[in-house]
């Protein structure tokens, strides 16, 4: 492709373009117009935007000073090239913003430092949603999978989850290629140590370790585990973001200086073993699904590949004994690392301590790639010193003679409690500064990608002077995730769970596209081809639902089959829809008897089935949602002085002042705020509203009065205006 060359060339060119005229500061992006109209930008959304300032302006203001050589100007700068960073940079560049991706190591873009897998319960919904908005993670996972399984099939459509084992290296390569070939997107290796502020406490850019300044009105920090990262194996530690990669130092202190609150979190990754040294004969194989599910709604990415097998083993008594004897050697129980680890992804020692009565824990052996001998030992992360790790691995059946390729380690890093961000992921303190990923205290690639796409979209919009986008909690798992992050004062790594979403039946993976693709289209991330794909699919589903409503059957094989499956009688002239509503009757049954629709894909049939079968529940949940939404979306004034509200509890006053929720619903989710406080808040809102109304009326009356008196003082004039 020629485009990356163009981009790179232009960015180099830009360096030579001097910059001096402060009056044009926010609007001056040299070369923006030189870029050819690229095939990626189908929508003309940015044609009238501030991004596109004619290049002819810049030569006029040219002042070939020496500063211009060091400076680079962009619309959006993304710091970090992980899953959040890639998604953010891609979204922003695709929206037409000139984007710079700064990363410590270009070879590690979109690296999967821990489990080479995408999806799983709740996380798969995030991936589907990111894809529905026009993100990349789902497509790459579909392209690089080693194995795919659908989990929780028996528990209802809302908790059904797709999980893919991915080829770690292939994944990184694929993503890197996409990032490199995306127009408007430049990449640079750099360590960002400081952020540059403008006069109004707005962001102006970033400064790197080697003294470069990059300028942009929007900056996204996705620092992952790198900010003051420190890795631990046993009692030994070294500053590093990941094994073998240096940490990013200095940024934390500078953020603190700007008044940000930072804290420390911890996570860990298990050892990797050589798969050639594992004896699979006694292990339970875990094959992939025969019918492969897909993350992406884009049919072009549904290309089946040969699947690899995972294996299941279990901890034994000697595993537990070894750990118990050496608990003092682990960072958490030895007491030399205080940072909190993820409760929902615990280390093996945590599991053994917390579930004392459980005799054995499941351990999965998962391949890391097609061409590498590494095997990921899922569920076995540990903080034990390296000398104990191999003996510990060898207590597992099948691994008695294994050799260890990489030791398990824990990593400690700085994060910024996300109550400092609003739901657009822009920080409340500094306009134009966005945080995404582990810096907000989450764990997981999917969570990172979800935040990444939101911050990427918003960073581009911010640079363009457009209003920011907020995904409501009830709209999506992404919305739920961000709402939780910014309202709950989280002090441990946050992992998405299905139970975190109150209305999950409405937020299924199968309807992620109908929930979010229209929004993605509106934002400008869904191109015409994808939009047509989407519309056709919806039309087919609608058509099929109509057909099922109108076709009636009496007797016959189908009704006999339905009766035997559901143990309910089938009336004459029943519609196919009513048959599908009976328990244990699936669309497959219709197919079997020739009543199915050949034109529909498997996924579409599933959508139809879910829509019909669970209609009652869905409607009920929608009603619940509406009831709540009406109340919860009531906005709280941004300048409400919580400390002056005597009817709030002291704790609520303190917490609300800190978090500054945007809506009543958010306020109710802030820890330490009880229902009585919410009542008090609602009463105040209502009272305020009434007061404002009365005030207005009175002002009107007074202005009329003063008018008739012919006695208009300057003060009252001001007020009435």
């Amino acid at each position: 492709m020629a485009t990356p060359a163009v981009t790179l060339h232009l960015s180099r060119l830009a360096r030579h373009l001097p910059f001096s005229c402060p009056f044009f500061k926010p609007v001056l992006y040299p070369c923006a117009r030189i870029l050819p109209k690229l095939p990626f930008r189908r929508r003309a959304g940015f044609s009238s935007s501030r991004f596109t300032v004619s290049a002819s302006v810049s030569p006029a203001s040219s002042n070939p000073g020496n500063r211009g050589l060091d400076d680079e100007r962009y619309d959006v700068i993304v710091v970090g090239g992980g899953h959040a960073g890639c998604e953010a940079a891609l979204a922003s560049a695709r929206l037409g913003a000139r984007t710079l991706l700064l990363t410590l190591n270009i070879d590690r873009i979109a690296w999967q430092p821990c489990n080479p897998a995408v999806g799983g319960p709740a996380k798969s919904q995030l991936v589907h949603e990111v894809d529905a908005l026009g993100g990349e993670i789902g497509k790459i996972a579909d392209r690089c999978y080693l194995q795919k399984r659908i989990l929780n099939t028996s528990r209802g459509p809302a908790v059904r989850a797709l999980r893919a084992q991915t080829d770690k290296r292939e994944y990184a390569t694929q993503m890197k290629e996409i990032v490199e070939s995306t127009p408007n997107l430049s990449i640079r290796e750099a360590m960002v140590t400081d952020i540059l502020l403008g006069k109004n406490d707005d962001i102006e850019g970033v400064r790197t370790f080697f003294g470069m300044n990059f300028y942009a009105p929007s900056v996204i920090l996705t620092t992952g585990t790198f900010m003051s990262g420190k890795i631990w194996v046993g009692r030994t530690s070294m500053p590093a973001g990941r094994a073998g990669e240096s940490a990013s130092l200095g940024l934390t202190e500078n953020l603190q200086r700007l008044g940000f609150e930072t804290d420390r979190l911890k996570t860990g990754t298990p050892a990797r073993v050589d798969r050639r040294t594992v004896d699979y004969s006694g292990l339970e194989p875990q094959h992939g699904d025969e019918e492969v599910g897909w993350f992406s709604f884009d049919l072009d990415f549904h290309v089946e590949r040969e699947q690899m097998c995972c294996y299941l083993t279990r901890t034994t008594k000697s595993t537990h004994q070894l750990i118990r004897e050496n608990l003092h050697e682990t960072p958490t129980y030895g007491g030399w690392v205080e940072a909190k680890g993820p409760r929902y992804c615990p280390s093996i020692e945590d599991k053994i301590v917390r579930f004392m009565d459980k005799e054995s824990h499941q351990i999965f052996l998962e391949p890391e790639g097609r061409n590498v001998p590494e095997l990921y030992v899922q569920g076995f992360s540990t903080g034990l010193p390296e000398r104990l790790q191999l003996p510990l691995l060898r207590t597992l059946p099948g691994l008695e003679n294994c050799s260890m390729l990489r030791p398990a380690y824990a990593v400690e890093y700085d994060y910024l409690p996300a109550h400092q961000c609003s739901r657009s992921l822009m920080t409340k303190k500094i306009g134009g500064l966005f945080f995404s990923g582990q810096i907000n205290g989450t764990t997981g690639y999917e969570e990172a990608a979800a935040q990444g796409i939101v911050s990427g979209i918003n960073a581009a919009r911010h640079a363009d002077g457009k209003p920011l986008i907020v995904l409501e909690r009830e709209s999506s798992y992404i919305g739920t995730l961000i709402d939780d992050l910014v309202t709950k004062d989280l002090r441990e790594p946050y992992r998405m769970l299905t139970s975190r979403s109150e209305h999950r039946l409405l937020l299924r993976s199968d309807n992620a596209d109908s929930r979010l693709t229209p929004l993605g289209r509106e934002i400008g991330l869904i191109d015409d081809r994808r939009w047509k794909l989407y519309q056709d699919k919806q039309a087919r589903i609608l058509e099929e639902k109509k057909r099922l409503k109108s076709v009636r059957i009496s007797g016959g094989d189908l009704s006999a089959n339905v009766t035997s499956l559901s143990c309910q009688p089938v009336k004459d002239f029943s519609t196919l829809e009513s048959l599908l509503k009976k328990p244990h009757v699936e669309y497959k049954v219709l197919d079997k008897h020739g009543y199915g629709n050949e034109m529909l894909s498997r996924v579409e049939k599933q959508c139809v089935e879910i829509d019909i079968k669970y209609e009652g529940f869905i409607v009920r949940q929608q009603n619940q949602l509406q009831q709540m939404a009406h109340q919860q979306h009531k906005r709280l004034p941004e300048d409400l002085d919580y400390n002056a509200i005597a009817t709030l509890s002291l704790e609520a006053r303190e917490k609300l002042s800190k978090v500054r929720p945007q809506t009543i619903g958010q306020a109710s989710r802030v820890g330490g705020v009880n229902p009585a406080d919410i009542t008090a808040l609602l009463i105040i809102l209502e009272a305020n509203r009434k007061m404002a109304y009365q005030e207005k009326r009175l002002q009107l009356l007074n202005s009329v009065k003063t008018d008739t008196d012919g006695h208009i003082s300057a003060a009252s004039l001001k007020e009435t205006n």
Binding site: S499, A644, N702
Partner: protein, 629 residues
């Protein structure tokens, strides 16, 4: 006069003279948007009683009195709305006004400067009145003293009862002044308090504060109102039980169970490997017990309605079967006039009784018959109208006459009326005058018993069967489950709706489990149930809860002059109407009585004349005897 004196308008000018810590500047208008003007206490910081009664606060009041007076004028000149009040202390007469004066009446103050305000008007007798030290009361210790008006004149002798936060009804500093019970005293004391910086409380505002400060939850707050207006012991008991939290704790416990179950299920959605499998039987049992709790609560809803509104029972029957005697015997009064003459009762006579804690209005009606008497005819028509509106009809027959054709006719008439209006008013047959006959001669009556819901044998003279009648009524309205005198909370309409919602959700949940629908779906109905229950206790805030609060406690609503006038007008109009009606009724009764009196007087006159004549005769006879002797 009293209403004028008590209206907030009357004291509005005091509001603007209230002491302020900061003299308001004309520029502060923009900042007003952030602070609601009313109710002001919502936004003020809660100061401890010690701080508010400090000398500083007291002196502030004096030094700023003049300044604030200027403010009022400034405000008027600017044409802007008066400054918002930062005062947070409310005061009101909390004992009932109207009716004969009681010995004692109470003015209650609540708010952070309650002590300061009282300190300003109250002079404890044990201290010299000249003392400049501010009043520093000990909580819950009564003090005797006098209340002074701003000029230093003694207004009343009072007992001051200080209850400092949080040990008070509102969880704020509360001071109650026990005054002499006349309106004059109470109003003068209240006025003194208002002039010292308190604001007149809105209706229900003390309870509102108790609710806002977490002293009462919503159901409890609602029941305070019910307790105050309770008309029977049972209604009061029910309200009291609810205030003490019986119902709240039941709702909370069921809600807690719902949430617990929800957590159990949701935990398994994410961490199935680490948890034991869900015990379906246990879940079903739990749901069953929850729905039983909810249903038993729902049963009280009916009872509550009866407690609040009571029952109307119409006594119907042919003339002279003893309807009025029954009313008198039942109500233990001589409310209705009883004579041997058929058609004595011409109009509907009311009497109030209480059965099983339920207030019941008995309606004695004119005996229904064809008549040419104009007055009696109207009476008969009224009787029929009353019968149609009653909750229960008692059809009375006389045991002496047995079941007569006229009774059949009357029954037909009632039933056809019932049919045409589609009502299902229960009818009880009462066979009266049982003292006059043996109980076995009622065979003809027995044949007709089938068309009634119940039948009872009574004697209005001996009082026999009245208890059976009461029991029959309780049975019919479904109250036999509630033994009289047991202290049991009840639910009101609002709570009832949510309980029904809960019940339905639990029923759906049961069927979901039976149909083996995946357990993620169970959470939807569980959540629904929890939400509905949350609405009851006010833990989940709904629009309805809010409107309730705003409707009941008049928050943020400042009545304008016009509105006040309007209100006063409608109130007066209503009163007038009432009075008119009463007068009409009185006149009607008067005329009837006069007629009767005349008749009686005539009778008595005749009797007396006869007596006189007899006596004269006797006297003559005696005279004759004497003469003979």
């Amino acid at each position: 006069m009293a209403s004028l004196l008590l209206s907030p308008l009357r004291f509005r000018h005091f509001l603007y003279k209230r002491p302020k810590l900061k003299p308001p500047s004309p520029l502060s208008f923009t900042s007003l948007k952030l602070r609601p003007r009313f109710p002001p206490y919502l936004h003020s910081c809660h100061r401890s009683s010690a701080a508010s009664s400090s000398p500083l606060a007291d002196s502030d009041h004096k030094t700023h009195a003049l300044l604030t007076f200027n403010d009022e004028r400034a405000a008027l000149l600017n044409g802007s709305h008066p400054q918002p009040e930062n005062a947070t202390t409310i005061a009101a007469i909390v004992t009932s006004l109207g009716g004969p004066p009681g010995a004692v009446g109470i003015v209650r103050l609540s708010g952070p400067s309650a002590v300061a305000v009282v300190g300003h008007v109250f002079r404890p007798s044990r201290r010299k009145s000249k003392s400049k030290r501010p009043w520093r009361p000990t909580s819950h210790v009564v003090e005797y003293g006098v209340v002074l008006d701003p000029n230093g004149n003694v207004v009343d002798e009072v007992l001051a009862v200080p209850m400092l936060a949080p040990r008070s009804y509102t969880r704020e500093d509360v001071v109650e002044l026990q005054c002499h019970g006349t309106q004059v005293c109470l109003n003068r004391v209240l006025r003194a308090c208002l002039e010292a910086g308190a604001r007149l409380a809105e209706p229900g505002e003390f309870t509102l504060r108790a609710f806002l400060n977490g002293r009462l939850d919503l159901t409890q707050a609602e029941n305070v109102d019910r307790l105050i207006s309770a008309k029977s012991v049972a209604a009061a008991d029910a309200a009291l039980a609810a205030i003490q939290g019986g119902f709240s704790s039941m709702v909370k416990s069921v809600r807690f169970q719902c949430i617990e179950l929800l957590t159990e299920i949701e935990a398994r959605l994410d961490f199935d490997d680490e948890m034991p499998p869900l015990d379906i039987n246990q879940v079903v049992n739990k749901i069953h017990s929850m729905s039983q709790d909810v249903e038993s609560a729902l049963e009280t809803a009916n009872y509550d309605q009866l407690l609040q509104s009571g029952l109307q029972i119409a006594i119907l029957g042919r003339p002279n079967v003893g309807k009025s005697s029954l009313l008198n015997a039942w109500s233990k009064t001589e409310r209705a006039i009883v004579t041997e003459i058929a058609g004595t009762t011409r109009d509907v006579v009311e009497a109030s009784i209480t059965v099983g804690g339920i207030p019941i209005t008995l309606l004695d009606t004119a005996g229904i018959r064809e008549t040419n008497d104009v007055v009696e005819k109207i009476g008969v028509e009224r009787s029929e109208a009353v019968a149609m509106g009653a909750d229960v009809i008692i059809m009375t027959i006389s045991a002496l006459d047995g079941w007569s054709p006229e009774d059949s006719e009357l029954l037909d008439r009632i039933q056809s009326n019932k049919k045409s209006t589609g009502s299902s008013t229960p009818i009880i047959l009462v066979i009266n005058k049982m003292d006059c006959v043996a109980s076995d001669c009622l065979e003809r009556v027995q044949q007709n018993v089938g068309s009634f819901n119940k039948h009872v044998l009574t004697s209005a003279i001996t009082g026999q069967g009245i208890q059976d009648l009461e029991k029959a009524i309780l049975d019919i309205v479904g109250l036999n489950k509630f033994p009289a005198g047991s202290r049991r909370w009840t639910v009101n309409q609002r709570q009832c709706e949510q309980l029904v919602r809960t019940k339905e959700a639990l029923a759906r949940l049961k069927s979901s489990i039976e149909e083996e629908i995946p357990f993620d779906f169970w959470t939807i109905d569980l959540r629904e149930a929890a939400m509905a229950l949350g609405h009851i206790s006010g833990e989940d805030i709904s629009e309805e809860v809010l409107t309730n609060i705003f409707g009941k406690f008049c928050i943020g609503k400042e009545l304008t002059k016009e509105e006040l006038k309007e209100k006063e007008k409608t109130r007066k109009a209503k009163e007038k109407e009432k009075r008119k009606k009463l007068e009409q009724e009185k006149e009607f009764e008067k005329k009837r009585l006069e007629q009767e009196m005349k008749k009686r007087q005539e009778k008595e006159k005749k009797k007396r004349e006869e007596m006189k004549r007899k006596e004269k005769e006797k006297a003559k006879m005696k005279m004759k005897h004497k003469m003979k002797k």
